[in-house]
Symmetry: C2
Subunit: 188 residues, 2 copies
Amino acid sequence: MGRWEPDARGRLRAAALELFDERGFDGTTVAEIADRAGLTERTFFRHFADKREVLFAGAEALEGEMVRTIEEAPPSMPAMKAVALGLRAIAEQIPNDREYVRRRSAIIAANPELQERERNKLAALADAAAAALRKRGVEKSVAYLASETGIAVFRAAFARWLAENDDRTLTGFISQSLEELRAVTASF
Amino acid sequence: MGRWEPDARGRLRAAALELFDERGFDGTTVAEIADRAGLTERTFFRHFADKREVLFAGAEALEGEMVRTIEEAPPSMPAMKAVALGLRAIAEQIPNDREYVRRRSAIIAANPELQERERNKLAALADAAAAALRKRGVEKSVAYLASETGIAVFRAAFARWLAENDDRTLTGFISQSLEELRAVTASF
DNA sequence: CCACGTCATGTCAACCACTGTCATGAGCGT
DNA sequence: ACGCTCATGACAGTGGTTGACATGACGTGG
């Protein structure tokens, strides 16, 4: 047991989520978050690069999952198929507790700055996927297109999953959105 | 002739571009931009919502172009094809002066905050396109997928166009990237 | 041709996100 | 016991962003 309460990072995350929920993102100051977590503002910024990041930390783990999946796919597998595998792998990582995910999504949906950051995180995921594809010998812009369309599929599936209340899994919605992508890009 | 020099907005834009070029985005304060434009900091924020926006104002015009093109396309045209038309229409709007576009792109490439904003602008463009598609009766997630993949195509084409020095047009690269998209999504 | 409203700008003050720097004191190996 | 490391605190400063109010040229109606 240390000099301080354990898990400062986790406490900051929890405090931030509560406060954003209560007063909105803009209506909450970093000082308030730190206070509720029993820490100082300075410490907040030691754990999170900026105020938004407290809602997005952990996204790097998804990148790792995506990259690993692509790397482990058979070398002969087409780029888009490998990305599809990666998407399913990521879907498994999303907590099944839809309520938590919904609260977080509601906060993000209420604030353009946060949507900007979320898009950025997914773009980073796409970049990681594209890099993994290139290592397999896929040409640069093909890798880019496969990764970006993959992210679009993920977002579409995620939105549907959040909107539903039944037992269908995120993975299931991903399959559905992939089918739609096929249809959409077959007719032009 | 008014009490002030004309075109405050344009002067601010020009001053910002120069300073970002000389000292970088972070190394430039809004006060310095305003000074060079012969205005005050407060006035800067009357013209641009935030410091980044001075590099992105005007993107709304592209949205209009995209929406108009989609609206004017024959109702029977498939969603992805209408988006492709919109992309070509937008490409026509980009100044042919590659040097200006390159300087601006270099500034953005050097700063993650700016890349975040750029993605956001393109996402807004995608949203506008998706809304226009839905008005034609296209189902929501299909509209989303078509628009987002369209933006990916645009980015891929734009990057290539910037990297080249020959006379090929942006529109030409868009056709090329669309072909790649077709190939990528045909094999999974 | 004058009074008045409008509009773009200036002035001033404040808030808060974010950063640099130095201090503190518990745990830990030696 | 010594000194090192590491997470945190304390404090001050920078700069982006906003609100409130003032100013003075321009156009317009009377």
